[in-house]
Symmetry: C2
């Protein structure tokens, strides 16, 4: 594990090194690469902020939907979809208008992607997802599924979440509660609403964007692994 963390540090450091070397070595491209670099820098700060909020969230008894979605936005949506699109657009010389239009696609798409991940993490088939079901529940993660479960459950349900979330034995009972109290259905609705928002934003970008971003959007949210 220590070696894996070090490799991660080294790769992050080399990303920085490659981007800056490219700026210095390619004077004609340096303005574009410099703008891409701004989004890369934002991305690194945002993902640290999202991870910090996630870590703090684990220490709390309950989580609201807004809080859980803020973690999703900073830790996943910006890092996985929005900033990579901005980096690509900036390298291609885009000005502010398409950058903003890409955010309108990327944020709901990235959020839907993470919510799908949360659902698969509890209810996915381990043979397909390649990871054990219930890991998030075992670790006591305050995901959007858990936020949605806090809303409708009665005292008995809240007691079950307090006692069983974060334990290995409690995984089946918490998964049952998420289904029976309507939290799973609510998150599926969240995903659909976010997909619709991303879809409308792709339309606003025009037909060429649809060709490129349409399949990406489907892959991100309509998946079983």
């Amino acid at each position: 594990m220590s070696a894996a963390v070090l490799i991660g540090d080294l790769m992050l450091s080399w990303c920085d090194e490659m981007l800056t070397t490219a700026i210095l070595d390619s004077p004609s491209m340096s303005e574009h690469i410099g703008r891409a670099r701004t989004y890369f820098d934002l991305c690194k700060t945002e993902v640290v902020a999202g991870q910090f909020l996630d870590v703090v969230g684990q220490t709390r008894q309950t989580v609201s939907w807004d809080e859980a979605m803020t973690v999703v936005r900073y830790k996943s949506a910006k890092y996985t979809v929005e900033r990579p699109l901005h980096i690509g657009a900036a390298l291609a010389g885009a000005d502010d208008q398409p950058i903003d239009a890409l955010s309108a696609v990327a944020l709901p798409l990235g959020e839907a992607f993470q919510l799908r991940d949360d659902v698969l993490g509890v209810f996915g088939d381990p043979a397909v997802t390649g990871k054990p079901a219930g890991d998030d529940l075992r670790e006591g993660k305050r995901t959007v599924l858990i936020a949605r479960a806090h809303e409708p459950t009665d005292d008995a349900g809240r007691q079950l979440l307090r006692d069983s979330l974060g334990t290995a034995e409690g995984v089946p009972a918490v998964a049952d509660l998420i289904r029976s109290c309507g939290a799973l259905e609510a998150v599926e609705h969240d995903i659909s609403a976010l997909e619709a928002a991303a879809d409308a934003a792709i339309d606003a970008l025009g037909p060429a964007a649809r060709d490129v971003l349409g399949p990406l959007a489907l892959t991100a949210t309509r998946r079983s692994r």
Copy 2:
């Protein structure tokens, strides 16, 4: 602890961001800052390499003086002394000649600094150093002190190192062995030899360098904390 690691990641990321922003914002300085950046990049890669060697070293039964000194060089001497001097020299517009001359000062000085740290970590006064004595022994770190202890000890001594290094109960016995087998004296000789090498290299840089680097050298190696 998680928050502390994240703050560290954020600070590292902001270092990269500040250096690159400085390159882009100061065209007249960009060549100097670009050269400084090269040493900053090397430093980050070297410290990861040194930490990796240190982690691997913890998994081994024994350590040679050469192996332990390689960790000292990459994890401490380059990171703490050599590369910071190079970064400063490059920012000031130095060419290759003073850069190499600074390495001749910085590597032995940085190595002596770390060996002093290793000695204080075992035999220092916790009230002065501010950290508990014996931490390295408790963690089973394969420091140069341990490498030097492996050389002269008999079978009983080697057995003691195998059984007690890395345990809390074994700290006093391992510390006694390091002293009685001559390892402490050997490392004090190592420190003196490295100090002499750094001192000669400072002389070679001339009197102005002596004024600046002389006190730095003394602070690094003749300290009790």
